[in-house]
């Protein structure tokens, strides 16, 4: 319980231990990714949807002759012998710069997973509050539905929905929201069940505060910690689901640069041993999800006594 001791320290001594105990590794990686995503148009050396422009000499080096609309396909990164276009991380099967596409892909991955899990969180929290506080009928309806929803593995559910709706960024956001709300509901519901017995809620009820207001002013602030922790833990799963859907061809439609889609499009080059085509997007997904998970674990220990493991 070293954490609790640190929090109880007097204010003067609090700042330094707080700073040193922050999870710096995931924070640095996440900030880099977010900055890269937000400022992608400024940072990216090339356009994400067009081939890297090459000179006649480079074209000649690659194909033995120069021609119009020439691009260098599957070019290795600049540090590997045989690289012609000398781009940072190489080019893809249409001669597009992989580094630039990764930056724009970060936009899509972050946007889709954050917005999708936020929608799921809002919906799930509202339903959990209602189920826990509005009486047995609501409780039965909502919680039985939650149980049914939890039965389907998220990936299978997402595949079913994406088969109906087809590829598209907006569709993935909807799918993530529809798939992930039930976890929030279950957590919030359990929390509300114990909160509603507490004195401050009972006092508010005696004073005639409306049920809606009790849920909003008294219950919601008290479940927010749990919701935030669950959010950080589920964002990682959402990113992976998005990449899998894109990889399977029902997620982000081409030519948008989604990381999962980038890997899917390079499977031919991959079988020729061109590892860099998969390595960079794979690494990007891993770093993003790992950072989100580490941050979630850290928050879990900090914010939520229920989760506090040994």
């Amino acid at each position: 319980m070293a954490d609790a001791v640190a929090v109880d320290n007097p204010p003067r001594r609090r700042l330094l231990p707080r700073l040193t105990s922050l999870p710096w590794i995931p924070l640095v990686f996440l900030s880099l990714l977010i900055v890269g995503a937000v400022f992608a148009p400024l940072i990216a050396p090339h356009r994400p949807l067009d081939p890297v422009a090459v000179t006649a000499a480079q074209c000649k080096a690659a194909y033995g002759q120069a021609f119009d609309g020439c691009y260098i396909k599957d070019d290795p990164p600049f540090f590997i012998a045989g690289s012609i276009a000398k781009t940072l991380l190489g080019t893809d099967y249409l001669g597009r710069d992989i580094f630039s596409r990764l930056l724009y892909g970060a936009r899509i991955s972050l946007f889709v997973s954050l917005v999708g899990t936020t929608f799921a969180g809002v919906l799930g929290t509202a339903l959990g509050l209602i189920a826990g506080y509005m009486g047995p009928i609501w409780q039965q309806i909502i919680m039985r539905l939650t149980d049914a929803w939890l039965t389907l593995p998220p990936l299978i559910f997402a595949i079913l929905l994406s088969t109906i709706r087809g590829p598209g960024i907006g569709n993935i956001v909807i799918i993530l929201a529809v798939v992930f709300w039930c976890g929030y509901t279950r957590l919030v519901y359990a929390e509300v069940l114990s909160l509603r017995q507490r004195d401050f809620v009972l006092l508010a009820e005696i004073n005639g505060v409306s049920r809606f207001r009790i849920m909003r002013r008294h219950l919601l602030p008290n479940v927010l910690n749990t919701v935030v922790v669950y959010f950080t833990l589920i964002v990682g799963v959402a990113i992976i689901i998005e990449s899998i859907l894109s990889f399977l061809g029902v997620g982000v439609p081409p030519p948008e640069p989604s990381w999962g889609l980038m890997i899917a499009q390079e499977r031919d080059g991959l079988l020729e041993g061109k590892w860099w085509l998969v390595a960079w997007p794979g690494l990007a997904i891993m770093i993003l999800v790992l950072s989100a998970n580490m941050l979630g674990d850290w928050l879990r220990v900090r914010l939520d006594p229920h989760f506090q493991g040994p």
């Binding site: 049914a148 087809g166 990682g236 891993m286 999800v289 998970n293």
Partner: protein
């Protein structure tokens, strides 16, 4: 015990009904499956499709027919293959089960020892290595692991074949790579579960008592701590296996193994909507049944649950 079984079974039936109804509603209200078919721009063809799938009737009639068919065990027929979904599902199931089971064994073999070491050396470098391994496994999409394995062992070293299932589900040369790619993800879970349940057991009174009695430390660990710490893992084994079969979709696609994941993927690619819906419902029912069995198993093992 009988009352508990009846109650749980009743809840399961209600859950199942809600689930199939939810799937029905989602399918009807999120889009028209007939527009997804190729050639759907031809209005006559689209109308024929809608009639064939019964989408032109009122929702109430559709819902009634849908429930009746499900109750009779008719999960619809694949549009493209012309076979009932159940036939296709049970054809593909063995391949997926073998893969899931192998991955489960791998995750046990890797995850349980790491979890034990993490728990015994809690808050040391060992613990951090174990936790980091678990987190990494949970953070890489399994298709990326699969592709890396293909490049390494299939293309560069050329040790193992990378496509298909070979001479049936048990051909180990085709099984090793996908099983490992799938197993790593779950070994991360195993590390976590083993670590926390081992820590609980080690702090419990009976382990303290056994230690006070002067039993050698390794006997305490193996006979008393480990056996008890493994209970949650063993009871959840069946459920884990089913989940494994289901998250194997990208792995099966990457390695071209003809299992349930590939079946689902084919259905998706061919816009074979009845196939996808049928397979998803079959999966849901399997998960429900296994959930129910796990509940019973727990109740049978632990009398406290039976009373409560």
């Amino acid at each position: 015990m009988i009352r508990l079984v009846a109650k749980r079974a009743g809840i399961a039936v209600v859950t199942l009904w809600l689930l199939v109804s939810a799937v029905f509603c989602l399918v009807r209200f999120t889009g028209d499956p007939s527009t997804m078919m190729e050639g759907a721009s031809d209005p006559q063809y689209a109308a024929a499709l809608r009639q064939r799938w019964g989408l032109d009737r009122p929702y109430v009639v559709q819902y009634g027919l849908y429930l009746r068919n499900l109750a009779e065990g008719d999960f619809g027929s694949s549009f493209q293959k012309g076979l009932p979904v159940t036939t296709l599902y049970f054809q593909s199931l063995p391949t997926s089960l073998v893969l899931g089971f192998s991955a489960f064994l791998i995750s046990l073999a890797v995850g349980v020892p790491l979890g034990i070491v993490s728990a015994l050396k809690v808050n040391t470098a060992w613990d951090r290595v174990g936790t980091a391994f678990a987190l990494t496994g949970l953070s890489i999409p399994n298709f990326v692991v699969g592709l890396v394995l293909i490049i390494l062992f299939g293309v560069e070293l050329n040790w193992l074949p990378v496509m298909g299932a070979g001479d049936g589900p048990f051909d180990w040369r085709h099984l090793v790579l996908p099983a490992f790619a799938l197993g790593w993800y779950f070994s991360g879970n195993m590390v976590r579960v083993t670590r926390s349940s081992m820590l609980d057991v080690l702090r419990s009174d009976y382990v303290r008592l056994v230690r006070i009695k002067g039993v050698p430390e390794w006997v305490v660990l193996v006979k008393h701590a480990l056996v008890n710490a493994l209970i949650p893992i063993v009871t959840l084994a069946g459920l884990n296996l089913i989940i494994m079969v289901n998250v194997a979709v990208p792995i099966e696609v990457v390695f071209g193994r003809p299992g349930i994941g590939t079946l689902l993927f084919d259905g998706m690619m061919n816009r074979d909507f009845p196939l996808v819906q049928g397979v998803v419902l079959m999966i849901a029912i399997m998960v429900l049944i296994l959930n129910l069995l796990t509940d019973f198993l727990y109740a049978w093992l632990d009398p406290r649950i039976r009373v409560g």
